[in-house]
């Protein structure tokens, strides 16, 4: 009983969603009051009981599509049967499915569908019609055809389907479809707004097509390999757990989306912490005066208001290719909560060093400033390979006087010095002048000191050297700092 639900929850937990025992129970109980043949209702129920954060919904949706793809929920018992039986049931049901749209029961990779006689042109026309009329059923059918024809799926291969998706899309000439859609929708008038609307509409339909194809591929993979195995291949970490250094373009976009709410929440939390920590040291004068009303007995202690001990921050970031994205996110986060610091100064370097604080001063959108860094900062002095020694030396020469006992110095980078000189004595002197020196390294700890990484030469002079690979780690660190 409840095996599928249990497996499903295990998968969600593996993907990083915090699901408690009582939420599991809630989901199980909720299942008893709904009509389980209604897939949408099952989905809504599970999402309402198990997912308690809007950012987790994409992970949930992916897992749901995998787990409840071909297990036909119109047979309520199927949901609660053990995994072995379900596959057979699904196949049998799939053949008799009234929609007749799923590829259930069809052998993988054979390409023999009901409409396989379609030529490439006919298929393209069919796709175009479906997109033009915004007809979801036709779109699914066309997607199914496209997958059968182009994906070339091979049974048993332990893949997540990205490659099949790529193969299918490559053959479909989406750009051509997009242009045709825009043409059809355009009014012909010379109107910017109308044109833009037509383009956005076309874009959204193309996205719908992609989603339909992806779903189709996924459904076939589930049939082939079973939900648990596939779920493992398509599992994506939550945005805050993505490795910043190795994120691809989509993941980068996710990270950027996640960063804004993250920094907002962090700022709110820090501001509250500051406001509610009301106790400074005992105010003796005030306490004695207050004690007069109780005959000189100091019953009521009075405290000085706390000094707003906002730290000053100096960020020195390596922005060479390998760690550029990490530097960008850290600068963004630090500047987004700059109200929590009394002063923030930012420096970037590759083998030369430049101050970029000014870029952040004239805009209230840190993202814009970060975007301008690459174009405007003068960071290449020599050959364009990171040189920590030279950059730190140059910082020390020009700005060492700015570092004082209220300053926390943050150095960001992987300490891959291209076999240049380390000049670790500079960090030693900075530490002597500053309140603290922290080194954030975006590489996994096991890579430190391999190859040209010389983090161990700097480490003795830093208060802490921190592995910082994900937004979660970054947020935790910056939160402690303020």
């Amino acid at each position: 009983m409840l095996n599928v639900l249990g497996d499903f929850i295990a998968e969600l937990r593996a993907a990083g969603l915090p699901i408690s025992m009582s939420e599991h129970v809630d989901a199980g109980r909720a299942m008893t009051v709904i009509d389980m043949s209604d897939r949408a209702m099952v989905k809504a129920t599970l999402s309402a009981t198990l997912v308690k954060d809007g950012d987790h919904l994409p992970v949930f949706n992916t897992a749901f599509d995998v787990f409840f793809a071909n297990r036909h929920v119109d047979d309520p018992d199927a949901l609660f049967e053990s995994g072995d039986d379900v596959d057979e049931d699904a196949q049998r049901d799939g053949k008799g499915a009234p929609t007749g749209m799923k590829g259930a029961g069809r052998p993988m990779g054979m390409g023999g569908g009901a409409n396989s006689s379609l030529s490439a042109e006919e298929l393209a026309e069919m796709l175009f019609r479906a997109l033009l009329n915004n007809d979801n059923n036709a779109l699914r059918q066309a997607a199914q055809e496209a997958v059968t024809r182009y994906a070339g799926m091979e049974p048993g291969r332990p893949v997540g389907g990205t490659y099949y998706l790529y193969r299918t899309l490559r053959n479909l000439d989406l750009d051509g479809l997009y242009d045709k859609l825009v043409m059809e929708n355009a009014t012909g008038e010379d109107d910017h707004l109308a044109e833009r609307l037509a383009r956005d509409e076309a874009q959204s339909r193309i996205e719908a097509l992609k989603a339909a194809i992806e779903q189709e591929i996924r459904e076939r993979l589930v049939e082939d390999r079973g939900a648990e195995a596939l779920a493992k291949s398509v599992r994506k970490p939550l945005p805050e757990d993505l490795d910043v250094m190795h994120a691809n373009r989509d993941e980068m976009a996710q990270l950027e989306r996640a960063l804004r709410p993250l920094s907002r929440k962090l700022a709110v939390r820090l501001a509250r912490k500051r406001r509610h920590k009301r106790r400074g040291p005992v105010d003796l004068r005030h306490t004695v005066r207050k004690s007069l009303s109780t005959g000189g007995v100091p019953i009521d202690l009075r405290f000085k208001p706390p000094r707003p001990a906002k730290p000053e921050i100096i960020v020195i970031a390596d922005i060479s290719g390998s760690v550029a994205s990490f530097a960008r996110f850290t600068l963004l986060l630090v500047h987004a909560i700059s109200s929590q610091f009394s002063k923030v100064r930012s420096f970037v370097f590759v083998d030369g060093l430049d101050e970029v604080t000014r870029l952040f001063e004239h805009t209230d959108d840190p993202a814009e400033a970060v975007a301008r860094i690459n174009a405007e900062a003068d960071v290449i002095a020599f050959d364009g390979h990171s040189d920590y020694g030279r950059a730190l030396l140059s910082f020390h020469e020009r700005f060492a006087g700015e570092v004082n006992k209220r300053t926390a110095v943050l150095i960001l980078g992987d300490a891959r010095n291209n076999y240049h000189q380390a000049h670790a004595e500079v960090v030693a002197d900075l530490r002597y002048r500053a309140k603290a020196v922290y080194w954030l390294n975006p590489e996994p700890q096991s890579y430190w000191n391999s190859g040209d990484s010389i983090i161990s030469q700097y480490a003795p002079y830093c208060d802490r050297v921190i592995e910082c690979r994900t937004l979660r780690q970054l947020e935790a660190f910056v939160g402690d700092l303020a």
Partner: protein, 315 residues
């Protein structure tokens, strides 16, 4: 699997004589009755509302500002003929504002009025019991919702504004539908209220709170739903115009803006265009009225550039 009815179970725990009948028969029922009250739900909104009723659990509604979170609670109240009790949260909200407070002025009066010169210890005990009676209790929204005899919908608005500690006040109500008052004992609900909590997600809510609620994320509606919302809320608008407005707004939301236009701003914009007597939106109209949708100068400039392809700002 033996079917347990969560409503019956809760009714037993609360000691109700009979189980209050569910408010909705199905999700389609939710959709149609909310529609009668000019609220267009989508599948997830309807399903979660239906579940909340069936499972007798509170709903935590999260999403960007102006997407109809508060309106949902109002519409449910209207659709079920229940009284809406609203608790607006703010920083510094405490027990005496949210739950209950003793009316100490009245208590003081009572003490002074009933104090003869020869009062004894027994008199005092009698008096003490007397002044902590319901008569001296000032009910605040949460207790009011629990004590109400008639059906109510309790709306706890912008829960993310209160401190983490204050959140804990709600936990007993959310899971047990009761309030414990030390001097008086436990007050149990006499009906099963429907509870909606809304949050703009400015901070992380506690696990304890989330665990007790069903979660509903209300994002921006898709073009079709937004068009329907405009048609139902703006009288006298043509379908073409509504469709066009919905599309413009969708395009705007893809632009990276500080504050994307909300549904309520969309409606304001639609009303404006109707008042101006427009049948469709051209570049000029859009440029001239964009400030209704967007509230930051930087956003307006950016949107003008992106959508209308011009560097000029007309606001």
């Amino acid at each position: 699997m033996s079917a347990i009815d969560p409503r019956k179970e809760l009714a037993d725990r609360l000691g109700l004589d009979e189980v209050p009948p569910p408010r909705f028969t199905s999700t389609t029922d939710v959709v149609s009755r909310l529609r009668e009250n000019d609220y267009l739900s989508d599948e997830s909104i309807a399903s979660v509302t239906f579940l909340a009723d069936r499972l007798a659990k509170p709903v935590l509604v999260e999403g960007p500002a102006g997407t109809g979170k508060t309106a949902l609670a109002k519409a449910v109240a209207d659709a079920t003929g229940a009284r809406l009790i609203r608790l607006q949260c703010y920083e510094g909200l405490d027990e005496s504002k949210a739950l209950y407070e003793w009316n100490y002025r009245k208590q003081l009066l009572r003490i002074q009025a009933g104090r003869p010169d020869d009062s004894t210890a027994e008199d005092w005990h009698a008096l003490e019991e007397d002044i902590f009676a319901e008569e001296f209790l000032l009910t605040r929204p949460l207790l009011e919702a629990i004590r109400a005899k008639e059906p109510v919908v309790l709306l706890i608005d912008e829960i993310d504004r209160v401190e983490l500690e204050t959140e804990a006040l709600l936990l007993e109500i959310l899971s047990e539908y009761q309030v414990s008052i030390p001097e008086l004992g436990t007050v149990r609900a006499t009906q099963i209220p429907m509870v909606f909590l809304t949050s703009n997600n400015t901070r992380e809510l506690s696990e304890a709170l989330k665990r007790r609620c069903l979660y509903l994320y209300v994002g921006y509606p898709d073009v079709e739903r937004e068009r329907d919302i405009i048609i139902s809320r703006v009288p006298g608008i043509s379908t073409t115009l509504a469709e066009q407005i919905a599309r413009v707004v969708r395009s705007l939301r893809t632009v990276d803006l500080k504050k994307a236009p909300s549904v309520s701003e969309t409606l304001d914009w639609a009303r404006t265009l109707v008042v101006l007597g427009r049948e469709e939106i051209g570049d000029e109209d859009a440029a001239a009225t964009l400030h209704i949708l967007l509230k930051y100068q930087a956003d307006i400039e950016k949107a003008t550039k992106e959508l209308l392809g011009k560097g000029k700002s007309l606001a």
